[in-house]
Amino acid sequence: MKNRLKVLRAERDWSQADLAERLDVSRQSVNAIETGKYDPSLPLAFKIAKLFGLAIEQIFQED
């Protein structure tokens, strides 16, 4: 699954650690999600969407 996490993070000048802290997950988790190697669960996807004030489909797209 593709995602815009890196772009959204860059827009806010957040590091992976910053985003991880806001989501209450590890930096490794953010890295794995961002690089598309790990697909987050629905609750985590909702949490990410809420943090950026966007809908899930505006952040995550099918390959």
């Binding site: 860059a10 992976q16 997950v25 590890s26 930096r27 490794q28 190697k37």
Partner: protein, 208 residues
């Protein structure tokens, strides 16, 4: 390419080195322990010497585990979750109790030539903290709120379980044909724990 600050790198050489050092060190320490025990047995050494060797082995294992896990955490710039910290603490306490229980039970049974129910109870005593260590892993998976960490730990456990089954199966047949010595089944937990480290490394390599 979007530039963002402090991006997480792939596991570094130091990171892998920490795992390999831990794994190699544990293997070497265990081999030295087994060799020392078998030598001392042939020499009919005093119980106190055997207990001393077992205590030294326990201390080496504890020191090596602590050093290598610290090295891996620093190299990977990992910030363990509260659940992971609790798990490590429980596991280390269980292993420390195990070492003490093993030394105590062994020396009591050998020293006083205990038999019957007391011997059974003392024989099972060292297994109890190991059961607690196994349970602490289950508790960790339940308590971990970071789903990625949980998935990685579960994958590492699957790799370790598969590896253990492979090792036991191959060894069993080698033993059946009289090509290798018998291994006592309590080694299964130790082997599984050894295999957790490469299992986690494989999981990390896949995702990071």
């Amino acid at each position: 390419m979007i530039a963002t600050k402090n991006d997480f790198d792939r596991p570094t050489r130091r990171f892998t080195g920490g795992y390999l050092l831990g794994l190699g060190g544990l293997g070497l320490a265990s081999a030295a322990f087994v060799a020392a025990c078998s030598y001392l047995k042939r020499q009919h050494a005093d119980t106190i010497v055997l207990v001393g060797v077992a205590a030294a082995y326990g201390l080496v294992i504890l020191a090596l585990t602590t050093y290598c896990s610290r090295m891996v955490r620093r190299a990977g710039r990992l910030n363990p979750s509260a659940a992971a910290k609790r798990y490590r603490m429980r596991f280390m306490v269980a292993i420390t109790v195990y070492v003490v229980a093993l030394i105590g039970s062994l020396s009591a049974v050998i020293q006083y030539h205990l038999i019957g129910l007391v011997a059974y109870v003392l024989a099972i005593t060292p297994a109890l903290p190991l059961l607690a260590a196994i349970a602490s892993m289950g508790v960790y998976l339940h308590e971990e709120t970071d789903e990625f960490e949980r998935a990685m730990q579960a994958e590492a456990a699957l790799w370790a379980s598969g590896g253990l089954l492979a090792v036991e199966t191959v060894w069993g047949f080698l033993e059946l044909f009289g090509l290798v010595p018998h291994i006592q089944t309590w080694w299964a937990f130790a082997i599984w724990c050894f295999l957790l480290a490469p299992g986690r490394l494989l999981a990390l390599r896949r995702y990071c």
